[in-house]
Each structure stands twice: as C-alpha cells, then as structure tokens.
C-alpha cells in the first residue's frame, strides 16, 4: 500500500494496531519483492557500517584533503576524559560519535548516507549512543533505524533531500527529525509521541541554509552534526512529555518544501553566499583552490 503522508501512516498504524517499523518493513518488502527478513538484513548492514564508521572516526585524527577538518573528535574525547559533560554520558557519546562519523566522511572514509553523507553523523550518534546506554538489543536498534528510514522516506516524497535543492534543512534538518523519531521508537513511545518528536525537531530547523566554505562538506557541516544530534534529543524529551506541535507534521513538511523553493540558489550548496562568502570563508576558498 502507498503511504505518502504522516497522516496516512498514522491512520494505517492505528487501524492495523501495528508500529511504524512494522508497516514500513512490510511495505518495503512488498515494493522490492523481498521478505521482511531480507529488508531487516539490509538495514542491519547499514547499522553495522554506522558502528564501524564511528569506531574508525574515534580512532583517527587524519586531516581531510582540504586540511580544514580532522582532529576535533579527538579533542572532545580528551576533554570528556578529564572533565565530564554537564549533561552526562549520553551527551558525551552523541557529540563524539557524531563528530567521529562526520570527520570520517570528510576524509573520504566509508560512512552511511543517512539520509545524506553531509548529515551522516546525526542518526547513528543518537541511535548508537542511546542503544549502548540502555542496552537495547540489535532487533530494537533495527526497529528504530527502520522508523528513521520511514520518516525520511515520507519527507522525501515531497522534498528532495539535497542541499542543492532545498538547503541544509532537507539534509541535517531531516536527519535530526529522523533521529528524534528513532530515539522515540527506541524508548518505546507510542506513534503519537514518535511523530510529535519528528515534528518538533523538523519545525525548529526550517530555513537552515547550505553554505559550505569552499563547497566542501566540512564547514559548517561537520560540527553541525553533533549539534543536531542533541537537537533530536530535545525534541524527543518534549514529545515524550506529551507536548505537541500545534502545526501538524505534514504541514511542517509543506513549509519545508516551500521554504526550500523560496531559498535563494546562492544558499543551496552553491557556496555563493552565507558562511562561504564571509571574509574568512573567501580567504579559505582562495587558499584551497590555489592548492588543488
């Protein structure tokens, strides 16, 4: 069955008394002509690759080709080793795992695009950190990742998940919304609360532009990943208290689409404005392109 909106998803879930991941994996299996078990197997491959990317990133301080990134994850780990975070272990893990993955991406390492490579640190950092802390088993982690995938899929039916088309709100913004939904699933929230978490996360990232310095997936992308991992936790905490977005989720996605259309092309992955064209951004660009 075709599910194109969150309203439809909610209706189907309540009618069949099934979880989001159950509906999603059944539909995905049917569309690809494979079994539910095979869908879960593919998701498991992504989950494992996410963990490998985190591990690789935690142990490397190799600089990226541009020299603009690499080494911050190590700094953060050293800091937490001597002075722990005000917000506890999960905060430490999310921020370091997100940096680890994003730095790994910038050095052309192997990562999982989720939904995109520039936003590759957000969903894994939240999912893996929390799963470790609450000792969620692998099946539960796969359920959460499928939930995240279904959220991204429904959004992408309306908005292409590319900075060049709709800005960073459609990459890191959507990743944060997916992470909020995954986290709510992992914590056993009901469908209402899962979708509220998605709505709250997405709503608060509308308008985020894509203005990378030198056109590289580094500044501001890498550090944006830990920020938006934590953003997802905020959305989850509010949603699990029963706090709702007054604007329904599907309408927030309409606003995401419209905002993307209205956003100037100069702020959509073309590096012609914003951070990319600050005094320092221009200087970094000159340095980089005189070298390549």
């Amino acid at each position: 069955m075709n599910i194109n909106t969150f309203e439809e998803l909610e209706t189907v879930c309540s009618k069949t008394n099934k979880k989001i991941y159950e509906i999603a994996q059944e539909n995905e299996a049917q569309k690809n002509d494979i079994s539910v078990q095979e869908v879960r197997q593919v998701v498991k491959i992504s989950l494992e690759a996410m963990k490998e990317a985190i591990s690789a990133g935690l142990h490397s301080c190799e600089k990226s080709y541009s020299g603009m990134s690499g080494g911050d994850c190590k700094k953060l780990q050293e800091k937490f080793a001597t002075k722990s975070s005000l917000l506890g272990v999960i905060f430490e893990k999310i921020t370091t795992y997100a940096l680890a993955t994003s730095e790994e991406n910038a050095r052309m390492g192997k990562i999982v695009a989720c939904p995109t490579a520039g936003s590759c640190g957000i969903v894994p950092s939240v999912l893996v950190s929390v799963a470790e802390e609450i000792q969620a088993d692998e099946e539960e982690q796969i359920n959460a990742l499928i939930t995240a995938g279904e959220i991204g899929r429904i959004i992408s039916n309306k908005v292409q998940l590319a900075g060049a088309v709709a800005g960073c709100q459609a990459e890191c913004g959507v990743a944060s919304a997916m992470a909020a939904g995954a986290l709510a699933q992992l914590r056993g929230e009901n469908i209402d609360n899962i979708l509220s978490a998605v709505a709250l996360a997405m709503k608060n990232l509308l308008g985020l532009t894509c203005d990378p310095v030198c056109g590289l997936v580094e500044v501001p992308c890498i550090k944006r990943n830990p920020f938006l991992g934590i953003h997802a936790v905020t959305a989850y905490e509010l949603a699990s208290a029963g706090i709702k977005s007054l604007i329904p989720l599907d309408e927030i996605i309409d606003a995401l689409e419209q905002t993307g259309q209205l956003m100037s092309p100069s702020l959509k992955e073309s590096s012609q404005a914003g951070l990319a064209k600050t005094k320092t951004g221009i200087k970094m660009e000159k340095n980089f392109y005189s070298r390549v």
Binding site: N4, A24, Q25, N27, E28, K31, N32, D33, V39, V42, V43, I45, S46, A49, S64, S66, N105, M108, G109, K110, I111, V112, A113, C114, P115, T116, A117, G118, C120, V123, L145, I146, A148, G149, E150, G152, R153, S156, N157, Q160, L161, A162, A164, V165, A170, M178, P212, C214, G215, L216, V217, E218, P265, K268, E269, S270, S271, Q272, F288, Y289
Partner: protein
C-alpha cells in the same frame, strides 16, 4: 507521486564526502557506462551548476570517473582514482558550465569509441539519480529497475511487438517512456521492468525490424 524507498534513505554505505556529489556521481557514471556498453576510448564529462561550482571539493570528478570505470560507491579506490592504474586506460576530460535550465546537479557524459554517445543525468538527492537524455532522445530511468532501451524507426506497432515478448516472459512493465525526432523518423523507447529479462527474450527483441539500438541495462547494486 514520486515514491522513494526506505532503504535508500538509510543507505548506501559509501565513500564520502557527499551523497549527491560523490555517491550520486559514481552511480551516474556506472549507469551511463552500462548504457554505452562499448569499449571507451575517450570520455568528456560536462558538469553543470552546483556540480560545476563545488564538484571539485566534493570529489564529484573522481566519482564520475570511478563510476565509468565500474567502481561501486563504497570502493575505497575512489579517493585516489586519478592516480590509480585503472584510470590510465582511458582518455578523460572535465568541463564546467552554468546553465539554470539544468538541474543543480547535472552532468553530460560524451562517450567516444566505435560510436559516439551523449548521456545526460541528474543527481536528485540522497545518492539517487536519474538519466534524462540519450543523444537527442528524452528517457527516464534511475538504475532501480532493469531497463530496456530501444532506438528504432518510428513505425506502427513497435510498442506492441516489444511488449508481447516481455509479456511472454511474464515480466511486468513498471514504466514506459517513448520519444521521437519526428513522425516516421527515429524514435526511442525506455522500459523499466519489475523482473529480469532472459537473454533469449532480448535476442528475440533484437530480431524485430527497424531497430537501430537495443540495450538491456541492469539495475544498480547499490
């Protein structure tokens, strides 16, 4: 309505740094190479808009070449493809353009060998791609389905002849896209399939009169 797949959203496992500009580029290269399907002597890549402006920093040029050379998106050789042995076998060049009539992430491949072929495609986000044009014909396929491409003289009954053979194989047609340069002139057909066509069926299609080109392009692995 466009239906994306859940698995596409939480994959692929890929070499960074950009899904649209690196992995998308590899997949466009792979699919274009599979359409050309002949030994390549020379290839020219024309990059447009965001691909032209920020491609170098994202390794888009590396990705496009790696794809044409048959590498998958998670192949760690992409990082250093210009210096790899497999890149020494062909002559390649890159050109950069601005054209706001084109998609932000558009590319033209100009293949030269025994035949010359121009293939145009877009990287439409999250590593997903679409081939839009082959030579002067508009087409529409994404590498997610096995695809049959035909170029032929515009005569009556061509769709029926081809679809009869496909039906006999019990394969469902997911989409069908036709185009032509003019009535009675050259026409093209792009058929995306839910299943797999056996070699015998493709051979049978090749025997139909008035065909200039038949390509069976397998769906991409990742």
């Amino acid at each position: 309505m466009r239906q994306s797949s859940l698995i596409d959203i939480i994959s692929p496992v890929m070499v960074g740094p950009s899904s649209s500009h690196t992995a998308g580029a590899v997949r466009l290269g792979l699919l274009a190479k599979n359409v050309y399907d002949e030994p390549i002597e020379k290839i020219t890549f024309k990059l447009y808009n965001s691909y032209a402006q920020t491609g170098k920093g994202h390794g888009t040029d590396k990705g496009l070449l790696a794809g044409v050379l048959g590498l998958a998106v998670d192949d760690i050789r992409i990082k250093d493809i210009f210096n790899s042995d497999i890149a020494q076998s062909i002559d390649y060049q890159f050109e950069y353009y601005n054209d706001f009539n084109r998609h932000p992430n558009a590319v033209d491949f100009i293949f030269e060998g025994q035949n010359k072929m121009q293939i145009s495609g877009d990287s439409i986000g999250a590593g997903e791609i679409a081939i839009r044009k082959i030579n002067e014909f508009s087409v529409k396929f994404t590498g997610k389905y096995n695809t049959l491409l035909l170029v032929y003289k515009d005569v009556t009954g061509m769709i029926s002849k081809v679809s009869t053979i496909i039906q006999a194989e019990n394969v469902n047609i997911a989409s069908l896209h036709c185009d032509r340069s003019g009535k009675g002139e050259t026409a093209s057909m792009c058929i995306c399939l839910d299943g797999e066509l056996q070699k015998e069926a493709i051979d049978k299609i090749k025997e139909i009169d008035h065909l200039n080109m038949v390509r069976y392009v397998r769906k991409l692995g990742n």
